[in-house]
């Protein structure tokens, strides 16, 4: 029996030679996590796992781009090369710089359609060396992205596995299924406004200029996390979180004037 097992094992190893190295060796599952720049989300998800595909989804105005900008800001400040594959050419450099992104460290690819976006992502993944790659499909309809074959997502995951690259995809609905190591759902709770006048004089109908956008409250829910369970990260010690339950947090975004 033992001899048969050894023979079988060597046959499998021989068949997989060149494709899978050491198929019977248990891989080290410890994954480095990096901060998103939003302490609440870091505490919820344990940060962004390197070498993983991460999906952030939600409707428009749900705070997906704010999360992206925050993560890009954190990565570019660490002098990492980052890439943004902009599926709908919606990136605003002024707002990005105001959010703390070092634009010199950012490769921006302005795509016109879904095919271009996926091919551009392939090219950037093949180049290697990027710490953070974002594929922004926020404004591409759910039906269009749904038609992308699943093997594309598997290919992306395979390309970044074992590297220090993070591939973050912004969409309206999650599509990568099991390929995604972390899936976050975003939802806007309410927008906040502030007045420049005293409360007794704050007549916004007469003086609309006296009111300013102050930001909005965003709820982030962790729909799926492969690495989170059982792994303690540096981000779980952040105190005073406004959690609704174990799987979601609320964080505030604020307006930055000047862009």
């Amino acid at each position: 029996m033992a001899a048969n097992l050894a023979q079988l094992r060597s046959q499998v190893e021989l068949a997989l030679a060149g494709r899978v190295s050491s198929p019977f060796t248990l891989r080290d599952l410890s994954v480095e996590h990096v901060a998103t720049g939003i302490s609440e989300v870091d505490a919820l998800a344990g940060g962004l796992p390197r070498g993983s595909l991460i999906e952030v989804f939600g409707p428009s105005c749900s705070g997906r781009t704010s999360l992206l900008f925050s993560a890009l800001g954190a990565r570019t400040m660490d002098a990492e090369a980052c890439a943004l594959i902009d599926g709908c050419d919606a990136f605003d450099p002024h707002s990005a710089e105001a959010a703390g992104i070092d634009l010199k460290q950012l490769l921006w690819v302005r795509c016109q359609n879904l095919e271009q976006s996926f091919r551009a992502t392939d090219f950037v993944l093949q180049a290697g060396g990027f710490g953070f790659i974002a594929l922004d499909l926020s404004d591409v309809s759910h039906e269009q992205v749904h038609r992308v074959p699943l093997d594309t997502w598997f290919r992306f995951r395979r390309a970044i596995e074992g590297t220090s690259t993070i591939l973050l995809v912004l969409e309206q609905e999650p599509h990568a299924k099991t390929c995604a190591s972390l899936v976050l759902q975003m939802e806007a709770e309410k927008s906040r406004w502030k007045s420049t006048l005293a409360p007794d004089r704050a007549d916004f109908c007469r003086y609309p200029f006296s009111r300013l956008v102050n930001g909005s409250d965003i709820r982030a829910e962790m729909v799926r996390s492969r690495n989170h369970r059982g792994i303690k990260t540096d981000f779980q010690d952040v105190g005073e979180l406004r959690k609704r339950d174990d799987k979601s947090v609320v964080f505030e975004t604020s307006e930055i004037w000047g862009f």
Binding site: S62, A81, L107
Partner: protein
Amino acid sequence: MAFASVYVPNFMLQAAVRAEPELRDRAVALVDGDPPLWKIVATNAAARRAGIEIDMGGSQAALFPDIEIRRRSRSQEKMAHAAFLDVGWSASPRVEDNALDTIVLDIAGLTSLFESVKNFAAELTERSASIGLHPNVAVASNVEVAIHAARGFPGITLIPPGEESARLSSLPIEVLLPSIETQETLRRWGIRTYGELATLPVPQLSERLGQEGVRLHELACGVYSRALVLADPETSFEEELALDFAVTELEPLSFLLGRLLDQLCARLTARSLAASAFCLRMELQDSVEEDPQLIRKRSQSNINLRTFEKTLRLPVPMRDSKTLLKLIRLQLQSDPPHGSIVKIILSAEPARPRAGQKGLFVPDSPDPEKLEITMMRLAGLVGNANVGSPQLVNTHRPGEFRMAPFSPAAQESHFAHKYVATKTALKEKETSPQSHRTAIAFRRFRPELAANVDSQEGRPCLIYFRGMRGNVIAASGPWRTSGDWWEERGWRQDEWDIEIHFDSSAKKQNSRAIPQNGLYRVYYDWVRRSWFVRGRYD
């Protein structure tokens, strides 16, 4: 003092084979002159064995089977000579350009680098082989002795001081390259070798042959002494290839470009240099039927369409021929030459190679060579203007930016600077009362969306765009901006930040994408007298 002479036997043929390496194992003969009077000027051993002789007529040689006949190309010889000189400069800074097929190096003090003189000579042979030339190398304490030994003896020859005359004595008199008359006189005297010439008395030789006789005698004895005439190092690196048959497709062109790049990169490597830019010039053949658009273009501008030129600027100096070939291919794919190619000239702009060592704590960054290929591919996919690193422009015009080439700085200096900045920012963030807040992001609509806005008491209250209707439940504005009024592109706008509550009918159409409420930025354009939606907060 020691000198090494490097001599390439049958240089014309070796230059031709260098340009076409597949000829190396075949019988090759070179013809020169105009048909039908062209004659064989060089052959290799295989061709000689087959019966081809020098001065044989080209038409006669063509009758021999399995003989590759090529026209002599002076440009190929020039390129081979330039490459040959590069090999010399790769080994010594003091090089004499003695002839097209001969160079002399001053190797005083250099042999210790290679442990022995023999190793040095072997290294020279190896470096020459890397550029496609197979030379004889001779080392002696006298310049002329080294030159004559290299011309006369195959392979590597080392002549110790004091043995010059003895070692040269067996060489035939033709190696001295005397004039035809002198050679004939010596032949009639029965003088066949250096040794026989060296035994003749100098006064009588001078009486009969003049100063030339004295010089030949000194050369034969190995006592003729002179200083090295130094050549200035070449700064231009150029390779060219004239084609017998015009090339029209990219695949065969890539093959030829690869060959030229291999040669150029070998030359650059020999000089410990890399290229910061490449210039590709191609001469095009006149086609029988020309594209009318091209004819019109040529008539409108003074551009010479018979020459196609492309320049490839590199972000970092490179000399990897495979990477460079990919880059040139990508450029040619996006802008191919309009015609059949009959001549290719490829020149490199030399630069010091990139030397860098990454720090232990510096994050990974894309390899510059790979990144350049990726940038080219991306540019081919989405267009040059749509890929790069965004840069803000010093203007108040909304949304103005420009694209700059992407060159991430992962150097330690950048990292150290950013590390300090980040630490400071984090400290400020920790002490700030709004430390838990994240900047709200803004997404632009390109092009901006036209909208219909109903206003009440000067503020927007109802908005229609993209087939959707929404009530404005909160508005902030108007924020007036204007500028460039002295130009055609002047602008004057009233901006509003508004929160829209979309109708349930709009929600039904696209329930997933459109939320109940959304924060948008709209503006009234006073120049176009219309409302537009600039973007939304996300």
